[in-house]
């Protein structure tokens, strides 16, 4: 269905090709997953299929890409619109109209389909994706998962034979991601659509893939094969595969179900071992003076309660994960801690100050927030400029920020533009900027969005290091694996209220949505991460 013949792509101002030596065929009706670390050209490869590379992005494409027999060299993206449906990383950037139904029809209108055909396909698509109740809704009022489904629906109505998706579940909470993946499953199984997608969160998708295309590194030729085989060679692996490698299972399990079938002996071995130490770092003292206290907090927006009666205490050296579905109030709670929302009830104290009445200059030394989009925080043209500005803002001696950057982000050039950094590097830079003022409380909003496993591992290391030095940290995240690795405590928010608050292993093991893969495999044993299992096994054999 999709054929790459000796394809290499070089962008206009780049010395090296973004991808090269691509020579593979994706058969019809397969769900094909594109895997690899950040910056190896996954998006380039995806965009080459729909013709945006090189017609829209510029650059030189050598070789030939054919989709359903059409050569992308002679067919610009609009001429491929009826065979390839493309959904980019940000569904919001994809929408042209303002209501769901119009959005579904937009592509067909451009193709000039007959009105009765359009009508029928819109109805079919509404049913197929479970959007019938949303048909008249304005797109701006949808939740993240709904938007992603509408975006997929809007390209499906043209009945494309190929669907190209870039990170369809990265920004979604676990349940919404399931929703989207269920739809993709259905398309592949019932309609024979060929799906090609890139996704960092392998733990969510690898079990559904028929084929995996692995881009091992920048400039290296991609390899294609069966998921289990490819996972053995891949530099990026979901926890369930890591566990399989650790336990020496063959073939490697890709889903929790596969792993549980093989895990009985491992569970036996582990249950003989003492219960693992709860967190990676020592649990902070419970009697230390808290760095932040939230009591009975209520926040309203437009008279709608967003938070209601929320209580939270954070002590030095403690890492707290805030979890809950999209829109449960996680970000609002973080913003209330930096004084962006005025409480309508209850109180917020951060280092003894009331955040929304404290001047930004003073608040900076009490609490720091890295927002969901770290780029918002960066305004200078170069990394060095950013560091100098951060030193000035914090009143720190010159070079303080640069030192932190060197620690978090070794080997980054000072003259680099923040925009040219990878997602992970940008996050580290924003983190360094915030840490320059040495706030005792650090807040991270959805830090793993768009990060690959390597960048995530680095983040985990950094935050653990900080916690060991007594830094308190609150992170709002959908990423259950991250929470399991980092958090001493998990607080689950639903509908603006705290519904669970306790040590990580108590809260997440019992929850179907928030349990990490290792916990699901080993349940009812309280092991959460592959690292813990490895340490326990070493301890047992020693």
């Amino acid at each position: 269905m999709i054929r790459f013949e000796q394809v290499s792509v070089t962008y206009a101002d780049a010395a090296e090709p973004a991808v090269q030596g691509v020579d593979l065929t994706v058969p019809e009706g397969e769900l094909c997953l594109l895997v690899g670390p950040s910056g190896v050209g996954k998006s380039t490869l995806l965009n080459a299929v729909c013709g945006l590379v090189p017609h829209f992005t510029g650059g030189t494409l050598h070789g030939r890409v054919t989709v359903d027999g059409r050569d992308t060299r002679t067919h610009p993206p609009r001429e491929l619109a009826d065979v390839v449906g493309t959904v980019g990383q940000d569904p919001l950037a994809h929408f042209v109209t303002d209501t769901v139904e119009d959005e579904l029809a937009y592509g067909m209108e451009s193709l000039g389909l007959a009105p009765d055909v359009m009508r029928r396909r819109v109805e079919e698509t509404l049913d197929l994706l479970g959007l019938a109740d949303l048909r008249d809704r304005a797109i701006g009022t949808l939740s993240g998962g709904q938007m992603q489904r509408v975006a997929i629906g809007s390209v499906l109505t043209a009945h494309p034979k190929v669907l190209v998706l870039d990170e369809p579940t990265s920004a979604l909470d676990p349940a919404a991601a399931e929703e989207v993946l269920a739809v993709l499953q259905r398309l592949v199984h019932d309609l024979g659509t060929t799906v090609l997608m890139a996704e960092h969160r392998l733990e969510r998708v690898v079990q559904y893939a028929d084929q995996v295309i692995l881009l091992p590194g920048p400039g290296a030729a991609p390899v294609m094969g069966e998921p289990a085989g490819m996972m053995a060679a891949s530099p990026v692996r979901p926890p369930v595969v890591e566990l399989g490698r650790l336990a020496g299972w063959s073939p490697l399990p890709l889903s929790v179900r596969d792993a549980r079938r093989k895990a009985a002996p491992l569970r036996e071995r582990l249950s003989a071992v003492a219960v693992p130490s709860p967190g990676p770092a020592a649990v902070p003292a419970a009697d230390a003076e808290p760095v932040a206290t939230v009591a009975g907090l209520g926040v309203h927006r437009d008279r709608t309660p967003v938070l209601h009666g929320v209580g939270l205490t954070v002590r030095p050296g403690e890492t707290v994960a805030l979890m809950g579905r999209n829109g449960a109030g996680k970000s609002t709670l973080l913003r209330a801690l930096v004084g962006m929302h005025q409480p309508s009830a209850g109180s917020v104290r951060v280092g003894g100050a009331v955040p929304h009445r404290t001047r930004p200059r003073d608040l900076l030394r009490r609490v720091g927030l890295v927002p969901q989009e770290p780029r918002d925080l960066l305004s200078a043209d170069t990394v060095d400029g950013e560091c100098a500005a951060a030193d000035r803002d914090a009143g720190a001696p010159a070079g303080t920020c640069r030192e932190v950057v060197a620690r978090l982000l070794p080997g980054v050039r000072g003259a680099a533009h923040p925009r040219d950094l990878s997602e992970g590097q940008r996050l580290a830079l924003a983190l360094a900027v915030v840490l320059t003022a040495r706030p005792p409380l650090l807040l991270l909003d959805e830090p793993t969005r768009g990060l690959d496993y390597a960048a995530k591992a680095r983040l985990v290391e950094v935050v653990r290091g900080l916690a060991a030095e007594g830094q308190a940290c609150v992170l709002a995240t959908h990423d259950v694996e991250l929470a399991a690795e980092l958090a001493h405590r998990v607080v689950i928010l639903a509908d603006g209220e705290v519904v669970a608050d306790g040590p990580t292993e108590d809260v997440v093991v019992s929850s179907p949505a928030f349990a990490p893969q290792v916990a699901k495999v080993l349940a009812p044993l309280p092991w959460l991460t592959v690292g813990q299992v490895a340490r326990s096994l070493e301890g047992a054999s020693a």
Partner: protein, 412 residues
Amino acid sequence: MSAPHATRSTALHAGAWWVWALGLATAASRTTNPLLLGLLIGVAGYVVAVRRTDAPWARSYGAFVRLGLVVLGIRLVFAFVLGSPIPGTHTLVTLPELPLPDWAKGVRVGGRVTAEGMLFALYDGLKLATLLICVGAANALANPARLLKSLPGALYEAGVAVVVAMTFAPHLVADVQRLRAARRLRGRPDRGAKALLQVGLPVLEGALERSVALAAAMDARGYGRTAQVPPAVRRLTSVLTLGGLLGVCAGTYGLLGDSGGGYGLPLLVVGLGAAMAGLWLGGRRSVRTRYRPEPWGVRAWLVSGSGVAVAALMIAANGYAPGALHPPAVPLTAPVLPLWPALSLLVGLVPAVVAPVPARAGGGAGAGRSARSSSPARSAPSAPSASSDSSAPSASSARPSASDPFTKEPTQ
């Protein structure tokens, strides 16, 4: 005929609402009687109250009302400070008058403020405010995007540009708010010219990136596909459109000027005809079809007809009761409500009966829904996380989570 619930198939044509609102606006421009203007505002406000949806654009009505009040206020302040050419005998206060040089003759700052002058300014300002409120009503009742969809095919590209621009404005507002919040996080002041400059650049950068992403998405979805048109037809299209527009210009000039009374009208008509033919021919290049165009049915006729009727009756009333429609400010008299013009304004209430009833949140259309997807009861009316202080329909916020706090399961 009782009105059905508004669905996609019964929805009123957007053009009908605009004709209705422009009819009311025309009526407003024909009177300065504050009682009649007040009645007109009441009529428009009532129809908006019973027939507007929960959609983002429907919230713009409040912004227009506020704009109207601001216009009224400015008119009064000017009349108070700068005086008014209306002669009057009832002096309210006497402000100290600013001596101005000779060349500024005719301009007065300060001086006597008369009740007559202020009353005249009030009538005048009220008329402007009513016009604005009528336009606001059309904006709130008709989806602007749907109106643009009714454009002829050749103008489609321009229509898309306008729609895209309209959805971008709320994104920009959200971007500015987000970046100002980020400045706070870095311990910097978020006000002042320097702050605005530093926020302004990233905002523009973000807008540019978003438009590039949107252009890519539109390209990949088939935007801009064209059909093959013979070169002769293409040339004919250009000639007709250009020639027609020239004809329209010359004809209008002839009509308005003193000399060319003879050739003005025919030239205008021929020019219009040629331009229309050019647009129609130009539409053949586009392969687009239209999804569920709104039919112009009986209800659309009634709604638009009621607006036209209000305008016509008011113009007629200028013939039989000019005094009551323009109560004099000198001498001071209390305006009276003329019966027949007032009754004729009430014709404008027809849409409140015949237009389809919008599906309100919590009732009708979106009530039953799976547990996972959000509850319409709360999500729909409360979506604007950022719009409380901005007039624009900024509900469609830039990132998904901004509207999220309200999309929750209906479980509690």
